[in-house]
Structures are given as structure tokens and as C-alpha cells.
Amino acid sequence: MVQYTRADFDASFAALSDATRRGVLEQLGRADASITDLAEQFHMTLTGMKKHVGVLEQAGLVTTEKVGRVRTCKLGLRRLEEEAAWIDRYRQCWDARFDELEKVVEELKRKEKIDGRNKRK
């Protein structure tokens, strides 16, 4: 999901409000890690770490992938940037399109003015 709505921003801030989760992001910035690795490193239960990773995943900050029995976590930022870039290109296309549309509407307005003037004559 692209981080564009208020709800998404709220999710990101909520995810970053916790010291453990910030630590997890820092750790994943250095290398991908499994949930088991992270749980050990942060002296937590597997269930506790799963919850933290879940919050980060919801916010789009982390992605996880299960291979066999191991769930590997990595930073989700790259994908986020790609999506943001895509949305921005899409916006630029529409922006250019609407600029042209405004010209067409201006022309219609101009014509109507002239027609109105002619009718009054």
C-alpha cells in the first residue's frame, strides 16, 4: 500500500513510536533477518516479535517472506519508494492531461462568449 492517506501515515507513526520496532528497522537496514533471529536479539518471545513485525508490515515498513519454515524480514522501503514513484508518474500524466483539458474548456468558454455577443447584436 502506498503511504498517501492519513490512515497510512498514522500507521507509520504508530509503528515508529516503539523503541523495539525502531531497533528492528535499524537491524533490518543492516541485513535481512528471520523472526527467530530478531526475537533472540531483542530478548523477546517469538510471539512478541511476530506482533512487532506485524505492525511494521501493516505500515508498509517491512516485508516478510516465508521460505520453508523460516520467515525472513526485510525493509519494505524500497517497494514503498517504487510505488510512490509509480503514483507520482501517474499523477504527472493526469496533470498534463488536465492541463490540456483546461485549454479545451477555455476555448469553449471563449466561443460561448463570442456566440452570446453575436446573438445580442
Binding site: T5, W86, W94, D99, E102
Partner: protein
């Protein structure tokens, strides 16, 4: 603290926004300086539509544009410089409410195409245009972005190609 108070309003370019509202929805908004009936006309008369739908910066060429704007009526846009390799976009109008609403299907991708709803809301001589695209699945909408994102990963020498791809993803009416 309003510095512009009392002075002539500066003509400002209207902003275009794009937001992914949910897994399956994409929403584009823009205010256009003109009454809804004119904006609606520009969306429904092919000779006007052709003038703005494919801006030069999109790097695409609109070969033909047929629009039968009525409920159940069909449209077909053909893109591309090369007649032997045309890019077609087509579908059907599901709703046509003059000056306020247009709904159409995008059938060129089979079942994966979105339903597009465009609403026109006039306020003080200006019209807020809201384009809402509802995709059949999260995967279908993701694919639009992934296609573009994959292209972005390639080198900048292929920028032309990229513009083509992006243009294609917004080529639907």
C-alpha cells in the same frame, strides 16, 4: 496573516492528486476552471476529447477515437504510430448522467480491467473532477504499478520505453 488579502487572486495552477484509497481503488482529483457542462462536453465529444486525452508529454499518438456516449454504448481508442501494431483501449458506458457522472468499463485487459467512474461537481463556476477506478482485485491494481515500477528499474536510456508503458497504463478513457 493573509498576505494576499485584498489583492487580486493570483492565477494558480490547479493541483492534480492521485491516491490509492484501498487495495482495489485509485482516485484522481482535479479542479478545472469552467462549468460542469463544458467539462462534461470535453469528456464526451470525441473531437474535443482527442484534443486533451493524450498530451504530447505522454509520448503516445492517438490514431482514432470512437465514442458512443450513452448507456450500453461502446468506445474504442486506438494508439500507436504503427498501424500494424496498434494499442487498443475499449469498453462500454454503464452510466451517462449529463454534466455530473460517467461510468465505463475497461475491457481490453479482459476481466482485469477496472470500472471507471468520473464525477463532475460544479462549484462557483469551477468543476471538481473525481476519477475513481475500482479494480477487480488487489493483484490487478498492483500489476499496473508493478509494470511501471519494473520499467523504472531499467536504465534511463530506456526512458522512452518507460513513458510508453506509463502512457499505456493511463491510456484508457
Amino acid at each position: 496573516m493573509d498576505a494576499t488579502r485584498g489583492s487580486e487572486p493570483t492565477p494558480m495552477k490547479n493541483r492534480t492528486t492521485v491516491e490509492r484509497k484501498s487495495d482495489r481503488e485509485l482516485v484522481v482529483t482535479r479542479t478545472v476552471n469552467g462549468p460542469a457542462r463544458m467539462v462534461f462536453e470535453a469528456w464526451t465529444r470525441p473531437e474535443l476529447f482527442k484534443q486533451w486525452w493524450v498530451p504530447k508529454s505522454m509520448g503516445m499518438f492517438l490514431r482514432s477515437c470512437e465514442m458512443d456516449v450513452r448507456v450500453g454504448g461502446r468506445y474504442r481508442l486506438v494508439f500507436g504510430h504503427d498501424a500494424s501494431n496498434p494499442d487498443e483501449f475499449f469498453g462500454r458506458y454503464l452510466e451517462v448522467t449529463p454534466h455530473s457522472r460517467l461510468v465505463w468499463t475497461n475491457d481490453e485487459a479482459g476481466d482485469g480491467g477496472p470500472i471507471t467512474t468520473v464525477s463532475f461537481e460544479e462549484q462557483g463556476g469551477k468543476t471538481l473532477v473525481i476519477i475513481h477506478e475500482l479494480y477487480p482485485s488487489k493483484e490487478a491494481l498492483d500489476a499496473v504499478g508493478t509494470g511501471a515500477a519494473d520499467a523504472m528499474g531499467e536504465t534511463f536510456e530506456q526512458l522512452d520505453e518507460l513513458l510508453g508503458t506509463l502512457g499505456a497504463s493511463v491510456g484508457r478513457p
